[in-house]
């Protein structure tokens, strides 16, 4: 709370002079106005802060309201049904949820080790003059809009994969027992794997920059102590830096995962938009966001629209949980850094 009246130097001086002059009356008016303005400004800023909270609750309420018809019709079955048939008005979210989870998993599987290695390079090996340019370049990668990844993925990356990586996977891993079904089928170019790889490139900067930040926050004394007993650079990173920064790294990984789960345009271009669950990662599939982006404007009928909004609600709930967990972990490490 703010003290209501604080006598200023001028007040005291006037009291000493005694008597109420015209100037003092004007002063009082001006002060009243300032006080009013002060209170108004405070309340306006407070209202804006509440506004941010309202936005989030608004999103949740609107999505629930919009998805009620679909949820009422299909109930819990919506989550576990594999059907998606606009003609018979039969909708199930399972293929989209499956595609979202698998593409994100592929992305994290690649982006996390690579991101950690880049952070390792930036904090321990990189010459200082190179540190900033590389850091900025990695962050520019994060700034490239997702539609650019999409158009690049469809016209440059997918044909490249179709001719190189995918036939290679089919000919090698496709013959290994147990995992062979994962790499079955023809090389389409587009599909789950391609979407996952593009997501990996998109998520990489997030994982890298947060890992770098938490690596840098490790106290120098700890590292020096490890070096002084003869540890190699790798051993210092593996046994001192990583354990110390673990919570922050997990937070950064979850933040990247949140991005990957909700990423829309890049995935929409290369996923193939097929509502089915295939064992093979080379097959086309779909994700929640790609389904919404592809079908929402063409959706005819309330139930179809509502089913798509319900998909949006599922996506929002999943990302909310992941992002909340990420923020909680990052908050913990920030508190420790102080």
């Amino acid at each position: 709370m703010e003290p209501a009246r604080r006598p200023s130097v001028v007040d005291i001086a006037l009291q000493e002079g005694g008597g109420v002059s015209v100037a003092a009356v004007t002063r009082a008016k001006v002060l009243d106005r300032l006080r009013l303005g002060d209170a108004a400004f405070r309340h306006v800023t407070r209202a804006a802060a509440f506004g941010v909270l309202l936005l989030l609750s608004g999103v949740i309420i609107a999505l629930i309201a919009g998805s009620l018809p679909a949820l009422r019709t299909f109930g819990f079955g919506f989550l576990v049904s594999e059907r998606w048939n606009p003609v018979t008005n039969n909708f199930g979210a399972l293929p989209a949820i499956y595609g979202t989870v698998v593409t994100s998993a592929i992305a994290m599987l690649i982006a996390v080790p690579v991101g950690l290695l880049i952070a390792f390079f930036l904090t321990e090996l990189c010459p200082p003059w190179l540190r900033r340019p590389i850091g900025i370049a990695i962050e520019l990668l994060a700034g490239v809009p997702s539609i650019i990844y999409g158009i690049w993925g469809l016209f440059a990356f997918a044909p490249f994969l179709q001719q190189t990586l995918q036939p290679f996977l089919i000919n090698t891993l496709g013959h290994v027992p147990l995992i062979a079904p994962l790499f079955a089928g023809p090389p389409y170019g587009i599909g789950i794997l391609t979407a996952g790889l593009i997501l990996a490139i998109m998520v990489l900067p997030f994982v890298t920059s947060i890992s770098r930040d938490v690596f840098e926050a490790v106290p120098g004394v700890l590292k020096e102590a490890a070096y002084s007993i003869g540890c190699t650079t790798w051993e210092v990173v593996r046994h001192v830096v990583l354990p110390y920064a673990r919570v922050g790294v997990i937070g950064g990984v979850m933040l990247g995962l949140g991005r990957a789960l909700g990423e829309t345009m890049a995935v929409t271009f290369v996923i193939g938009n097929a509502h089915r669950i295939s064992a093979s990662v080379l097959a086309p599939g779909t994700t929640i966001s790609a389904t919404i982006a592809n079908e929402f404007t063409e959706a005819v009928g309330d139930l179809y629209t509502s089913a798509l909004v319900a998909l949006g609600l599922i996506l929002f709930v999943i990302t909310f949980i992941v992002l909340a967990a990420a923020r909680y972990m990052l908050m913990r490490i920030e508190r420790r850094i102080g």
Binding site: G143, Y149, G150, L323
Partner: protein, 280 residues
């Protein structure tokens, strides 16, 4: 002992090589993407792109209406989002720095910052497009404003927190009211950082497609009517790239090049504005 030492040295060398390799790998994508963009988009770059409307399939044309549309939508989003973001950030840094409301808002804001943008599009569709009965540029602008707010809130709060308390105390000591201390002293001290926040927000929204798909939709023709569907570069790129027509595809590449250059220029400018040593 020496054998073991050699093994440790070897493992260290492998790890270092891997990390250098990973960095080259990571940067390689940036080079590759920009390279393909320049190669495919540069050829189509001509004055016609900036002076002609989007063509029907099979004829030549430009990207004037989506470029103008994108500028209008972005301006609208900044006009709506920036004041709200700055005010909320001001409350968090100046009035309730240690309050409960601030920590809750900060948490929620950070989630909004990385929330899927397509969900924002759905939300605006539900609260604006469906009740109004038609797609509109206004809805697109509001959808983008929802992406501007979290970025601006975050940078405003961070930058105001960095303003030294001595400045506030000095202002108070000469009798300046709190609101004037904030607007005349703190805002000025934090100006560079706050401008950075707005630039970053603009960079973020100028390539956003998902929230526009079912809010502002698209418009084949010249239109500055906020109450009607409005063309925007990202949506046109999306539509043209997925079309079977060669003309449209090449325009999509040119559009993609323009968007990327604009976004990269914005983010580099924004970074250059941050006072050195304060970079997070």
């Amino acid at each position: 002992m020496t054998a073991r030492y050699a093994a440790r040295r070897r493992r260290n060398a492998v790890a270092m090589a891997l990390s250098v390799g990973a960095t080259v790998f990571g940067l390689g994508w940036l080079v590759l993407i920009l390279g393909v963009l320049l190669w495919k988009g540069f050829g189509g770059l001509s004055p016609a792109v900036f002076t002609q409307m989007t063509p029907p399939p099979g004829s030549s044309g430009g990207l004037l209406n989506p470029i103008i549309g994108s500028l209008i939508l972005t301006a609208l989003a900044v006009a709506i989002g920036t004041p709200i973001g700055i005010l909320a950030g001001t409350y968090m840094a100046e009035y309730g720095r240690y309050g409960r409301l601030t920590s809750v808002v900060r948490f929620i804001n950070d989630i909004l910052l990385s929330a899927p943008s397509i969900v924002v599009g759905l939300f605006i569709y539900e609260v604006m497009v469906a009740p109004m009965g038609h797609f509109s540029g206004l809805a697109g602008g509001v959808a983008l404003a929802m992406l501007v707010i979290p970025v601006v809130v975050r940078t405003t709060e961070d930058m105001l927190t960095l303003v030294p308390n001595a400045l506030r105390e000095a202002a108070t000591s000469i009798g300046l009211p709190r609101s004037l201390t904030i607007t005349r002293i703190c805002y000025r001290a934090a100006r560079a950082g706050m401008v950075t926040g707005v630039l970053l927000a603009v960079a973020r929204i100028s390539g956003e497609t998902a929230p526009l798909l079912f809010t502002s939709l698209n418009n084949q023709f010249w239109s500055t009517n906020l109450n009607a569907p409005m063309a925007s570069l990202p949506v046109v790129i999306f539509q043209f790239a997925l079309s079977p027509y060669k003309d449209w595809q090449s325009l999509a590449w040119t559009g993609a090049l323009i968007v990327t250059l604009a976004v990269l220029a914005l983010s580099i400018t924004a970074r250059a504005l941050i006072p050195s040593g304060r970079q997070s």
